[in-house]
């Protein structure tokens, strides 16, 4: 159950990272900070909006991804576009972005971890044990968003344009696609997905300015294990890693589990760069 919640949130975050890497070929090291930004923004929104916690939470769920997406689009236009999306330069730039966002959060929000109230505290009582209703809702919401993104990519014109840009940027441009706008949109969408994940998780975890580190590393693992740029692989890998995370830490100490996982992922990337699923990168 805990594993499924982790998987759901991880899938959303990693999908954002995979999308950005797949379409733009940009390794976004600041992805975890977009996650953090979403959580922190959720705290601000829920604190400012009066009324029942549910109203504030729903407002946060709508506003935060838009806000984070706007920040990401701005970063894309101001920084990444001017670098011509060169892989080396963008990785350095997103490291810079990571520090700037982290420090901005520390200065404006403070070093404390702050909770956000869950919109409802229903408990689903089964005869032998109970489930937190909110956690079930998180899983359902993540599934809906994931399905939505899939529909967007597979069935709409926007998705078609995105895939065309991914496959051949020059050809897409020749067909009159505004590649720059597509890139800005993809970067914003990727960041927005991380923000949705963060808003969903924030009633369970707490909002903290350093909370972007773990999702970043885990998302990297998911994207690498699933195969760089392959969205379906990323989804399966998120499920696997989210579930195994809990299982591994039962047997090993958390630090050792992290060491083993990190080494494993590094070796996957060295020996099977197409990912464990064995598909060629989509």
């Amino acid at each position: 159950m805990e594993g499924l919640v982790t998987s759901a949130v991880l899938a959303l975050t990693a999908l954002g990272l995979a999308l950005v890497f797949g379409v733009m070929r940009v390794v976004n090291v600041a992805h975890g900070e977009f996650f953090m930004l979403g959580a922190v923004a959720a705290w601000f929104v829920t604190t400012w909006i009066p009324g029942p916690p549910a109203a504030g939470f729903i407002a946060a769920l709508v506003l935060c991804p838009l806000l984070v997406g706007a920040v990401a689009a701005l970063a894309d236009t101001l920084v990444l576009k001017r670098l011509g999306y060169d892989p080396d330069a963008t990785i350095v730039a997103t490291i810079g972005l990571l520090y700037v966002l982290q420090q901005a959060a520390l200065s404006l929000y403070g070093p404390e971890a702050r909770p956000v109230e869950a919109p409802f505290t229903l408990r689903v009582q089964l005869p032998w044990f109970g489930y937190s209703g909110y956690k079930l809702a998180v899983i359902a919401a993540a599934a809906v968003v994931l399905a939505g993104v899939w529909l967007l990519l597979a069935r709409t014109r926007i998705g078609l344009v995105m895939r065309a840009t991914q496959i051949d940027r020059e050809m897409a441009r020749a067909f009159g696609i505004n590649v720059e706008r597509v890139y800005a949109g993809v970067f914003a969408l990727g960041a927005g997905l991380a923000a949705v994940a963060a808003v969903l998780i924030v009633p369970i975890q707490q909002a903290h300015y350093l909370m972007g580190q773990d999702p970043l590393l885990l998302s990297f693992m998911v994207v690498i294990v699933g195969g760089l740029g392959s969205l379906r692989g990323a989804l399966v890998a998120a499920l696997l890693i989210g579930l195994s995370d809990g299982v591994i830490s039962v047997f090993f100490s958390p630090t050792l589990a992290k060491i083993l996982a990190t080494l494993f992922v590094a070796l996957v990337l060295v020996f099977r760069p197409q990912g464990l699923m064995g598909r060629r990168a989509a």
Partner: protein, 315 residues
């Protein structure tokens, strides 16, 4: 060409002479800073051999720096080794780990190489934390004053510390200079510029890159071991991701692929952070903003830009 060589030697020996003289002029606080900068510059020079000359952008150099630090610190603190043996062990640890990482990571290039090095460094950092009973984790080990004596020189004294840092820096600088002017140095640059063409000319890219990475690891290990000996502290923080990013920042600021760039970048960045921490606690913001500004407006750094603007002889 001979005139060029004379100019180059004059410049570098001049810088070393100026640094030798600086300790007599500078107040103690700045002399201490400068010693620290020189040791960190050796680390950045090592990073530059991989990144600036060979084109290998590693995001895991803290692993080699940390290896030097702990390769020196653990035997000295736990097994009672002398400082000299510790220094050698630290350098060997840096080079050895670079060899191991290189054998694996160099199967990949570009983005994958960066992520693999990042992951290995993260695993190394976590390993240090995992063995906290021995490494003392974040808290770190303080190296005893008595253990910090190298060839009869007490490295905890300000003046000897400065001279030791300068000696290490001078050795690293001159080796670096000789390297980039040697045929092998030119092959390294050829790998950076066009790997396929170098392969066609009969050079094995894997071996050249591995050699460059090991050399880079030796530099980082030497710097780490010296840092521990000179300042008497060995801590896990030095193996964290931030210490992989710092040399990148120094090299980008000073100029990638220049011999003096890493030192210039380290000095400027050190004082930038030092000065800004008087004004604000947000020194990470300075690091982040500096990275962004550099990558956007001056991707060649200070010396790289100077070289383009007329000082073509700058190595």
């Amino acid at each position: 060409m001979n005139g060029g060589a004379a100019k180059i030697w004059a410049l570098h020996l001049g810088v070393l002479a100026a640094l030798l003289a600086a300790q007599l002029v500078l107040p103690a606080y700045h002399a201490g800073n400068l010693a620290r900068i020189m040791v960190l510059a050796v680390y950045a020079m090592g990073f530059n051999i991989a990144f600036g000359y060979t084109g290998l952008l590693s995001l895991g150099h803290a692993l080699f720096f940390g290896a030097g630090l702990y390769g020196m610190g653990m035997p000295v603190a736990l097994a009672g080794w002398g400082a000299g043996a510790g220094l050698v062990a630290g350098i060997a640890a840096g080079g050895g780990l670079a060899l191991a990482v290189g054998l694996l990571a160099l199967r990949r290039a570009g983005v994958s190489f960066m992520i693999v090095t990042l992951m290995f460094a993260q695993a190394g950092y976590l390993t240090i934390l995992y063995y906290t009973p021995y490494t003392r984790g974040e808290e770190g080990i303080v190296i005893d004053r008595a253990a910090r004596v190298l060839m009869g020189l007490d490295l905890s004294q300000d003046a000897t510390r400065y001279c030791a840092a300068l000696a290490l820096f001078a050795a690293a600088l001159l080796v670096n200079l000789a390297l980039v002017r040697s045929p092998f140095g030119r092959v390294m640059v050829a790998m950076r510029e066009n790997e396929e063409r170098s392969r066609m000319l009969g050079y094995d890219p894997f071996r050249v890159k591995l050699a460059a990475l090991v050399l880079s690891g030796l530099y980082a290990g030497a710097s780490g071991a010296a840092y521990g000996l000179l300042f008497g502290y060995v801590g896990a923080g030095f193996a964290s991701i931030q210490y992989s990013i710092l040399p990148l920042l120094y090299v980008l600021l000073g100029g990638a692929g220049t011999v003096l760039g890493p030192f210039l970048g380290a000095a400027l960045m050190f004082y930038l952070i030092d000065l800004s921490s008087g004004v604000t606690t947000a020194h990470l913001l300075v690091v982040g903003a500096a990275l962004l500004v550099l990558v956007l407006f001056a991707p060649k750094g200070i010396l790289g830009t100077l070289r383009d603007r007329g000082l073509k002889w700058l190595p």
